[in-house]
């Protein structure tokens, strides 16, 4: 098995075995989108208009749920030290690690996003566009959370630091992912553009964030 495949598979397996897999983020996401209408009120028009934004925002917060453990556990059990002593690039290892965990824990978010969209009164096609936007956003959200998690690895109450670092960086993804659902609901052609921009941000993050995560890991271990 290749090095990166081994790390991807191990992270996915550990996320299932030790962290409850997708249950945590999915439960948080479901709770948030179920409670929000109780605060907003029963007006159907208002719920449908606010739905894409609430769903994208709740998905963002769900991704942050596991960010503290992503590198914190590896920091305290010595795994990060061992990763530094492998011939494979640390940036590639970090990418495989974050993606492995994201694949095991975040996969329900687009599905719940589609169901949530219907629940908020979006037409099926708009709900599907919103689900696709959330799917496109996951790599960017996971890697930004991973970057913040690496910077906060081993720090007491690192969750606060992660929230402060990650949330501003997630703003563009939030805007375009929610925008895709909103535009689809409004029936305007910018839905596809928003969806593609979300995907573009994710691809850019996949290309750049691993280097930032690797630098953060080195900094925490130094």
């Amino acid at each position: 098995m290749g090095v990166l495949t081994a790390i991807f598979a191990r992270e996915a397996r550990l996320a299932w075995a030790g962290g409850g897999g997708a249950a945590g983020p999915a439960a948080f996401f479901l709770a948030a989108i179920t409670l929000a209408p109780l605060a907003i009120g029963p007006a159907a028009d208002l719920l449908a208009a606010a739905g894409p934004g609430i769903l994208a925002f709740a998905a963002l917060l769900s991704v942050l749920q596991s960010a503290e453990r992503l590198f914190g556990d590896d920091f305290s059990d010595g795994t990060l030290d061992l990763y530094l002593l492998t011939p494979t690039s640390l940036a590639a290892l970090c990418l495989a690690k974050v993606m492995g965990q994201a694949s095991a824990t975040l996969w329900p978010l687009p599905l719940i996003g589609v169901l949530g969209g219907l629940m908020y009164g979006l037409p099926p096609i708009s709900a599907l566009v919103l689900g696709a936007a959330l799917l496109a956003a996951i790599p960017a959200l996971a890697l930004i959370a991973g970057f913040a998690g690496a910077l906060a690895a081993g720090i007491k109450r690192g969750g606060l630091l992660i929230a402060l670092i990650a949330t501003p960086m997630m703003v563009p993804v939030l805007i375009f992912a929610a925008g895709a659902g909103r535009s689809a609901f409004a029936g305007d052609e910018r839905a596809v553009a928003n969806l593609l921009l979300t995907l573009a941000i994710s691809l850019g993050t996949v290309a750049l964030a691993p280097f930032g995560i690797a630098a953060a890991v080195r900094g925490r271990l130094g």
């Binding site: 550990l14 305290s76 002593l85 492998t86």
Partner: protein, 218 residues
């Protein structure tokens, strides 16, 4: 340790290519505390060095500098005349305070992962576990292993890595007398193959001809 297990640990294995570690004029500090100044070291094939000294004298910091995890303030660390930071990734096997085990992971799954990462065959896992006398625990989750058993699993990973320079931080800390005998046999076997061992320790380790460096005295 039984004679059978000893014979397993000293099974002839291919020699490592010659490796020399040299440290010159090394300065190391933590915050405003100077841990080492103008430190020089030279270690050749088959040699072992024990870093001793009280808590806080810089044993772990020196090991971490040798592994390339932290930058020394001054001086150079070289492996065969190459900067250690460049050669470390396929030369050094590291055992820190923690063993890199996840609570839900068994020795089998953990060592399979590390074998893949180190590019070693998975068939080397069982011999490594046998050498540490924990082959019967191969499918027990790490959370249900004692601290000493987890340490043995960490040492099995070191054996599996098949690298010439071992950097060990308190390797015998949680080990019982039998475990320390296993460790001594492994170190002897590694040195016989031309490997180098540097260990930070509070416990006296009976490793023949091992040099000692008191970090509190430098």
């Amino acid at each position: 340790m039984t004679s059978a297990s000893l014979s397993r640990t000293v099974t002839p294995a291919p020699k490592f290519p010659d490796l020399r570690l040299s440290v010159s004029d090394l300065g190391l500090s933590r915050g405003d505390m100077v841990l080492a100044r103008d430190l020089g070291l030279a270690l050749g094939p088959g040699e072992a060095l024990l870093l001793t000294g009280r808590n806080g004298t810089g044993k772990t910091s020196l090991l971490r500098a040798l592994a390339g995890f932290i930058e020394p303030d001054t001086g150079a660390i070289r492996l065969n005349d190459e900067p250690a930071a460049l050669a470390a990734a396929d030369t050094i096997a590291w055992l820190g305070h923690a063993d890199g085990l996840k609570p839900g992971e068994t020795p089998r799954s953990a060592l399979r992962f590390w074998a893949d990462l180190y590019g070693q065959p998975r068939t080397a896992i069982m011999p490594a576990l046998r050498a540490l006398e924990i082959d019967h625990l191969i499918d027990r989750p790490a959370a249900r292993l004692s601290r000493g058993q987890q340490r043995r699993c960490g040492l099995a990973r070191i054996v599996l890595a098949h690298r010439p320079l071992w950097l060990l931080d308190e390797p015998a800390g949680p080990l019982d007398a039998e475990g320390r005998a296993c460790l001594a046999a492994l170190v002897a076997s590694h040195r016989a193959r031309g490997g180098l061992v540097i260990a930070a320790t509070h416990q006296p380790l009976d490793w023949p001809d091992a040099r000692s460096l008191d970090m509190g005295a430098i």
